[in-house]
């Protein structure tokens, strides 16, 4: 059985601290390739940079199950060198500009440090402070003098991974949690299935990696293994929070519907029955917006029954997100147990 212990948490730390912005996933890709080496029959890197690994099972009738976890994270690209170490930059992926002033970043393969400053409070008017600082007004400052970075380089938040009590705190838990989960599943794939693992690129800017990976794999079913926001903070006025999406601490989030996918009801049932039977806690993600690699997978070829399972986490796409270790452990347990119970009869059954 795959487990989440010290070694896996260390791997998560390395992956969260890596810089792998959509379109430039190399640093995470190298770690993934190194980790799964020798654990799958076939491992390749495709035209877009996805890592595709196939681990064949040994049962007689095996479903071909695609699992995807995206390697990329949101971040920035330097776009204009204004001299003296100052750079204009553009966001990559969904980032709230309000999360940027006052943050440290790491740029490029060398992890060159920089900061995004803000006008001193003393020099701003009360009126100005009512406005968001626009992306156009911000600069990445690498310090005066000869810069080791250039336009075209990607950057992301510089936050380092840390543990605190029951929680994991890091940038890019979305979706490095999924990447470690999938690495563990490759290493410990149940023999009942053929595991088609896709460590995908460019999820944050339109699930592009998953689209071509699903075409190449042509699987019987697909599961996106991701991290989803938990908006489970208190309401400003003390009223009940009814739009939490998910809550940390309540287990893996099973998707029924998001903006891209109506999950295959047979797959949802299979996951919940597994959780119920084995007493693994799970929660339903509130049906609504957002989307995962499942949105691309289930549109591939003639259509692929798909579902998503995510670790809930707070403050996604910011410098520090927070997830609970238990939720992650339960996500791995739910997926592993469900895969071990999977038979072709599932897809032969009624959808609803």
């Amino acid at each position: 059985m795959p487990t989440i212990g010290t070694q896996q948490i260390k791997l998560l730390e390395r992956l969260c601290n890596a810089v792998a912005v959509s379109g430039d996933e190399g640093e995470v890709r190298r770690i993934v390739l190194d980790e799964i080496k020798g654990h799958a029959g076939e491992i390749r890197v495709d035209a877009l940079g996805n890592v595709l690994a196939i681990k064949q099972g040994s049962g007689r009738k095996r479903l071909r199950v695609m699992l995807s976890a995206h390697m990329d994270e949101v971040g920035f690209m330097l776009v204009t060198d204004e001299g003296e170490g100052l750079f204009r930059f553009e966001s990559i992926g969904g980032i709230d500009v309000r999360q940027l002033p006052g943050k440290a970043v790491l740029i490029g393969k060398e992890h060159v440090p920089g900061v995004i400053g803000a006008r001193p409070i003393h020099l701003t008017s009360a009126e100005e402070r009512k406005q968001k600082v626009s992306l156009e007004a911000m600069r990445i400052d690498t310090g005066p003098g000869n810069s080791k970075v250039k336009p075209g380089d990607r950057a992301t938040f510089a936050t380092r991974f840390q543990r605190n009590g029951p929680s994991l705190m890091a940038k890019a838990l979305d979706d490095r949690l999924g990447v470690v989960t999938l690495i563990e599943l490759v290493k410990h794939a149940p023999p009942e299935i053929d595991l088609l693992a896709a460590f995908t690129v460019q999820e944050e800017i339109g699930t592009r990696g998953a689209k071509v990976a699903a075409y190449a794999f042509h699987p019987d079913l697909g599961i996106a293994v991701d991290a989803t926001p938990a908006y489970d903070l208190p309401m400003w006025d003390g009223a009940e929070n009814s739009s939490y999406n998910t809550r940390v601490g309540l287990g893996p989030a099973i998707y029924v519907a998001d903006n891209l996918t109506l999950s295959d009801p047979r797959l949802v049932r299979w996951l919940t029955e597994t959780g119920d039977a084995l007493k693994i806690p799970y929660q339903f993600r509130q049906p609504g917006g957002g989307g995962t690699d499942a949105g691309a997978i289930h549109r591939a070829q003639a259509g692929v029954p798909s579902v998503s399972v995510s670790v809930p986490h707070r403050y996604s796409h910011t410098a520090i997100s927070i997830a609970r270790l238990e939720d992650w452990k339960n996500s791995v347990a739910l997926l592993q147990s469900a895969l071990a119970r999977l038979t072709p009869e599932l897809l032969a059954g009624e959808r609803a």
Partner: protein
């Protein structure tokens, strides 16, 4: 000084919020102890170091004031394990969402610091007219990742929350981090004390790391009265030119300290130090501070019967954010200029402090 960068990185990694300066004060005291003859504490938390001069007693004295307190946050309430906070010192709430912080708990559950982040609640959790713009400090929360039960055991209302952005070394011998306002000036004063080791100075020198500057110059008010120096030199950070900050109030980074002139500063002291900098070829920029310098000078100038005061500035980008940015060279130059000025104070210096 062997390595101002290492000392400064160490110093800005300590919390030491206004009124609670001890963590910073201890580091400074350790550094100053071999450099001064006496160490004492002001009644409001300032650290006083005295170097005896070589002149005959009673000697005139110069006080160099650099505030050591840092801005930060304070817990005002706990809701479902999330901390509500207010500010200590002036903070633009727009720099807070996603900022790493350290909570300093005083509850029964132990006082080891707790890391956290400043959470900006998602739109649906905010009043309708507060969803799109900057989220006010009254809506932001600190999340430690601990369970509500664990938070309740450890954190109390009134506990401090400091910035936790680690120091970042950037190119051009610059350093970025929180609390460089005004620990950068403490480092400059420390360099001055080190250089005075090998110089003769006839005046007594009071090195003072003042407390509570960010909340109303409190430490400087008390310490200046208690020490009652002949003259005072205040070293504080000033605004450096940079993104969004280019007008006359901002000064070039890495081109030396500023020498401030204006109502807070005694014109003769200002002229003397300017002439000295020219003579020593220490680069500097003139800072015009028409009525109010916004530094401890506001307190030193009007202490007791009035103390002739001088202000040096160290240009700093992104002041009062977690990523303030300073040039080490400016700190070194300020330190040297201070030491040379102090060494040049003769027994008859005060006779020249006359109004035209």
């Amino acid at each position: 000084m062997t390595d101002p960068l290492a000392f400064l990185k160490d110093l800005i990694s300590a919390p030491g919020l206004s009124g609670y300066e001890d963590p910073a004060s201890k580091i400074i005291e350790e550094k100053w102890r071999p450099l001064v003859h006496e160490i004492s504490r002001g009644k409001l938390g300032s650290l006083h170091g005295l170097r005896h001069g070589t002149g005959p007693a009673p000697r005139p004295s110069v006080m160099v004031a650099t505030h050591m307190d840092a801005i930060g946050l304070m817990v005002t309430g706990i809701t479902e394990g999330f901390l509500r906070v207010t500010q200590v010192g002036g903070i633009d709430p727009r720099v807070l969402p996603g900022t790493p912080v350290m909570v300093h708990p005083t509850g029964a559950g132990g006082n080891s610091p707790i890391p956290g982040t400043v959470a900006q609640p998602s739109a649906a959790l905010l009043p309708e007219d507060e969803r799109d713009g900057p989220v006010g400090l009254n809506r932001l929360l600190v999340d430690t990742g601990l369970l509500p039960r664990q938070v309740a055991e450890r954190v109390r209302v009134g506990d401090l929350v400091s910035f936790a952005q680690p120091p970042v070394e950037l190119t051009g011998e610059t350093l970025s981090g929180h609390s460089l306002d005004n620990r950068a000036s403490v480092a400059a004063l420390t360099i001055c004390l080190e250089q005075l080791q090998s110089k003769i100075h006839t005046w007594d020198v009071w090195a003072v790391a003042t407390s509570q500057e960010e909340v109303g110059l409190l430490g400087a008010i008390g310490s200046t009265f208690e020490i009652h120096p002949t003259i005072a030199i205040v070293v504080d950070v000033t605004w450096a030119k940079g993104p969004g900050t280019s007008d006359w109030k901002a000064f070039p980074l890495g081109k030396g300290p500023t020498i401030a002139m204006g109502a807070n500063m005694h014109p003769v002291l200002y002229t003397r130090i300017k002439e000295l900098a020219d003579q020593l070829e220490i680069p500097y920029t003139l800072e015009y501070s028409p009525s109010y310098s916004g530094t401890d000078a506001g307190a030193t100038q009007v202490a007791a019967e009035g103390i002739p005061t001088l202000v040096l500035g160290i240009p700093l980008r992104y002041m009062h954010t977690p990523v303030e940015l300073v040039a080490i060279k400016d700190i070194q130059r300020a330190g040297r200029l201070l030491a040379e000025f102090i060494a040049g104070l003769g027994p008859d210096f005060m006779e020249k402090i006359v109004w035209d």
